[in-house]
């Protein structure tokens, strides 16, 4: 048995904290998770919307993510319906982004001289966000530990300048570093804490509860209605004139509209888990969410954060 180097983290949260510290030290704003259900860290407006326009940006955050179809009642060693992603987005992508990324692996205890780190082609595409980019999945000893993408388009808009996006699947990465075979066995806080808590202590019960609800109980008629409502609200928000009649200010409501787009996307995922969406309908639903994402992107570039300059008006 090999003794772990002093530098090896001891818990899930320590890995997260180290990533936070590392990216903070590299100048990123450490944001908090977005307060809505999303399927991946990319959905956070700090990524999707901020990748648009020419305003420089550097942010990092943990994003709880939900994939209802991946629920396994907490029994599968690697699959969860609720998990965490660590997300970094820097615009324009710095020329040493690969080195910055490798530095983050080092920060969480991966010794580059003992491990085999590889950048393997993986083109990223999100049909629901109308987004795509080129990059790699990063392998550590044959395991995918991150997704590394140079965004080319989001919501149908060319990304100019280009953002570099890094996504870490936190549970899988942490399990590898901590040498854990089943996610539920992973120490969440320090194992020598007065009250040590494992991933199981915190999430086994919720995985069961949500798996049951996602697969068998969620009311599909209500969900279908939620989808339609979110879609309608999104469009209604965006149909408003840019000038607010009350304050007289120019207020383009890109973010409230985008919330509805996120909602529609998550409702669609729930409907999918309930098995009520056929193969052909699937495409149609994805197309509807994409249409919303595109309109939100159109709206965001009409905002100041999205690069709108008052002089242009």
């Amino acid at each position: 048995m090999t003794t772990p180097a002093l530098d090896t983290p001891r818990s899930f949260q320590e890995i997260i904290l180290r990533l936070q510290n590392y990216w903070a030290s590299k100048g990123c704003a450490i944001l908090q998770p977005y307060d809505m259900e999303v399927g991946a860290g990319t959905f956070h407006p700090a990524t999707t919307l901020r990748a648009l326009g020419d305003t420089p940006w550097a942010a990092a955050y943990v994003q709880p993510s939900r994939r209802p179809t991946d629920g396994r009642y907490g029994e599968n060693p690697n699959r969860l319906q609720h998990y965490y992603q660590y997300q970094v987005l820097i615009k324009p992508s710095p020329s040493d982004l690969q080195d910055l990324y490798l530095g983050s692996l080092k920060a969480i205890g991966i010794d580059m001289s003992l491990h085999d780190i590889r950048f393997v082609e993986d083109d990223w595409e999100s049909p629901t966000l109308g987004a795509w980019g080129l990059g790699w999945e990063v392998w550590c000893d044959g395991m995918e530990v991150s997704q590394f993408t140079y965004f080319q388009q989001v919501g149908g808009h060319d990304c100019k300048p280009v953002s570099g996006e890094l996504t870490y699947g936190l549970e899988r990465l942490a399990m590898y570093i901590l040498g854990i075979d089943h996610v539920m066995d992973m120490p969440f806080n320090d194992p020598s804490a007065p009250i040590p808590l494992s991933y199981r202590d915190i999430f086994k019960q919720t995985e069961e509860e949500y798996a049951r609800w996602n697969f068998d109980v969620a009311n599909t008629e209500t969900l279908l209605q939620h989808f339609k409502d979110a879609e309608a609200e999104c469009e209604a928000i965006l149909a408003q004139p840019h000038e607010d009649p009350k304050t007289g200010k120019r207020i383009v409501m890109a973010h409230p509209a985008y919330d509805q787009c996120i909602k529609a996307s998550h409702v669609f995922n729930l409907l999918d888990a309930r098995g009520v969406i056929s193969v052909t309908e699937r495409q149609a639903y994805i197309g509807r969410v994409r249409a919303l994402a595109k309109q939100c992107a159109d709206a965001f570039v009409q905002t100041e954060a999205g690069g709108y300059k008052a002089a242009e008006a």
Binding site: P92, S95, S113, D116, C159, T280
Partner: protein
């Protein structure tokens, strides 16, 4: 003469694009050099995950000066014209030469172009190459506008000769050319300068980079087979994987690991597919047991622990993957052993096409069609029906959901597990075949019946809803399906009139239109075998053209016959007869099909033709009856001599109207007799 060395250093280039890119770089640069007269002795291109390199040996340092002669205005032309000419040519009036052209005195200018320095041309050509590189997919990064496959970091570009090396100076979007590069990402990340190609390769080697992909793949294969051999194993060859793996590393390190005992019961194909697709591992077979028991992975780094950590990590990832596969396999086997009920039921919830119902509806159609086809293939009707019913059941299995490329193969395992016959299990795998023009065609009767039913159902259904292929669009792979049906029929020598079976497959399908589609595909297929399209047209014009086997036999016989001297000349004779007859019929407004009478025959050759036609008719009729097209064709070809002799000797438009009409009726007999074999009017030439 100097040597040129170029290296484009970037972030990791996708493995599959590297070889092509190295070739493209070589072509773009050398073409550009040669175009301005900069010739060279030799060139070679290389690639690794992070670099494209081109070495050009013994390049001309300067292109030769050239002189271009330009004709100007005539002497005495208006001053304006002469001035314009001088300006355009960049010469003064004193430099002009006067020559006599025809009767005029004309000015000529000699424009001297000095030779161009290699560095100037290289800078231009390389800059253009970087801007217009034909990557299959390229991207922008940062705030720049340049497009490359992944961010481009540096460009090394030097010319070297006895006097040393010099950088070819230029800049592309902020990247300034230099004489430096970097070694392996982890082993030797620092920049270093190089002075020649030899210097470059030896410094790279010291910096843990093997520049030549062939050298990398040879080393990997050598090391893998040696390690395997030493332990009593053999590596299963996989050229595609080897090429890919060699392009994922600059410093290959081969590591052999063990597959956990728990997973050795999985089907070999599952192990192999999972390892290859997910992990890019080679499968390694025990020479003793014949089972896959080891794997080979290729790392990009040499470590102090000789790869122990890397191997342990890979092994762990593999075990997690195979645990999934084993879980799927065991679940699937349980369903299979219980008769696959849930799978076939699940197919009714899967839409095949919104106008064509569910997968279950589709299976029901294929079952009915397969049962009907059992007669044709000579298989047992009940067994065929059962085979068609379960042939696609594995589409609902967990294993196929995870590894779609295992469809069919898993079906075979699961049908056997369900206790079904070998023929049914084989059909589950083989009914997808053939997938292209060259892969194997099933021959087992049950497999053939299900394969035909599957493809004919698809064709008839998409024809019924008018979703035919157009131009390059064929989203449902209908051309492939039609070719598959054709090959199944021909290579199994089946008699299968398609008209009825298409109507049986889907009542709304336009059978004659679909048949024409088959005939088109058949032309493409037979063209590759040297049979002309017009020959196929001549045969499809005949009755029974929906029996592809019969049709092809006729076409082959006709093609062979036309290759003989008699055959070729017969066509000429036939055409002559047909033309004369058609013109006369058009002019006279009648059809000369009353039957010629030998009593009006005057010339001997005319009488002989009567006899020859009688003989041919009898021979052709009996040959056709027994399906002997070769005999029919040869009987027809026998007419060549009598027809030629007749035309040489006899004037059709005789003065006597009775004799003329009789001769036209005789020509009509030629048309009828030959027409029993094929429609020769369709033959070109």
């Amino acid at each position: 003469m100097p040597d040129l060395l170029i290296e484009l250093f970037s972030e990791e280039i996708p493995a599959r694009m590297q070889a092509r890119a190295a070739k493209d770089l070589q072509k773009l640069i050398t073409d550009g050099l040669v175009e301005v007269g900069l010739t060279y002795a030799g060139a070679a291109a290389f690639h690794t995950p992070r670099r494209l390199t081109l070495a050009v040996g013994e390049l001309l340092a300067q292109s030769k000066p050239t002189v271009e002669e330009r004709k100007g205005p005539a002497v005495g032309a208006p001053d304006k014209a002469i001035e314009g000419f001088l300006r355009g040519a960049g010469v003064s009036k004193d430099d002009l030469e006067v020559r006599t052209v025809g009767k005029k005195e004309v000015y000529f200018a000699a424009i001297h172009k000095p030779g161009r320095l290699a560095e100037d041309v290289i800078a231009e050509v390389l800059e253009a190459a970087v801007h217009n590189f034909p990557w299959p997919k390229s991207m922008r990064w940062g705030a720049g506008n340049l497009k490359w496959v992944r961010p481009l970091h540096s460009i090394l570009c030097i010319l070297s000769d006895e006097e040393g090396a010099r950088v070819v100076p230029f800049e592309v979007e902020g990247i300034v050319s230099s004489n430096t590069t970097r070694g392996h990402r982890f082993h030797a990340p620092d920049a270093f300068a190089v002075s020649s190609f030899d210097d470059y390769t030896s410094k790279l080697a010291r910096a843990h980079v093997v520049l030549d992909a062939a050298e990398r793949s040879d080393a990997i294969w050598q090391d893998a087979t040696n390690q395997a051999f030493a332990g009593g194993f053999e590596v299963i060859e996989d050229a595609g994987l080897l090429a890919e793996v060699a392009n994922l590393v600059e410093h290959p390190v081969v590591l052999m690991g063990t597959i956990d005992e728990d997973f050795l019961e999985l089907p070999a194909e599952v192990l192999q597919t999972s390892m290859r697709e997910h992990q890019k591992f080679f499968s390694v077979r025990s020479t003793k047991t014949g089972r896959i028991e080891r794997f080979v992975t290729v790392a990009n780094i040499a470590t102090a622990d000789n790869g122990a950590t890397i191997l342990a990590g890979n092994q762990k990832v593999l075990s997690a993957r195979l645990a999934d596969a084993k879980f799927f396999w065991e679940n699937d086997l349980r369903v299979a052993k219980a008769g696959m009920g849930p799978w076939t039921e699940a197919l009714s919830n899967v839409t095949f096409h919104n106008k064509l119902g569910s997968q279950a509806d589709r299976i029901a159609r294929i079952v009915a069609l397969a049962r009907r086809l059992a007669d044709v293939t000579g298989s047992d009707a009940n067994e065929t029906e059962q085979a068609a019913g379960v042939a696609k059941a594995d589409l609902s299995s967990e294993m196929v959901y995870e590894f779609p490329e295992l469809q069919g193969l898993m079906g075979r395992y699961y049908a056997k597990a369900a206790g079904m016959s070998e023929a049914i299990a084989a059909a589950a795998q083989e009914h997808y075949s053939p997938l292209g023009p060259t892969d194997a065609v099933p021959t087992a009767p049950v497999s053939v019946a299900v394969a035909l039913a599957d493809k004919l159902d698809t064709l008839a259904c998409f024809w019924a809803i008018d979703e035919k292929p157009t131009g390059s669009k064929d989203p449902f792979a209908l051309r492939r399906a039609a070719l598959g049906v054709t090959r199944l029929i021909l290579e199994n020598d089946l008699t299968l009139p398609l008209g009825d079976i298409i109507s049986a497959a889907h009542a709304d399908a336009d059978a004659s239109d679909l048949l024409a589609f088959f005939h088109d595909r058949l032309k493409v297929y037979l063209r590759d075998q040297g049979i002309r399209h017009d020959i196929i047209d001549a045969c499809t014009a005949m009755d029974g053209n929906d029996d592809l086997n019969l049709l092809v036999k006729r076409a082959r016989a006709l093609s062979d016959a036309l290759k003989t001297d008699d055959g070729e000349n017969l066509i000429q004779g036939f055409k002559r007869a047909n033309n004369i007859l058609s013109q006369a019929e058009a002019k006279d407004g009648v059809e000369y099909s009353f039957g010629a009478d030998i009593k009006f025959a005057e010339a001997d050759t005319e009488k002989a033709l009567f006899g020859a036609l009688d003989t041919a008719d009898a021979a052709i009729a009996s040959a056709m009856k027994s399906g002997d097209f070769a005999a029919a064709m040869s009987a027809m070809a026998q007419l060549r001599a009598p027809i030629d002799a007749f035309f040489d000797d006899v004037k059709i438009n005789a003065d006597s109207e009775i004799i003329r009409r009789n001769r036209l009726n005789l020509l009509s007999r030629i048309r009828t007799t030959c027409g029993a074999v094929a429609d020769l009017t369709r033959i070109e030439g």
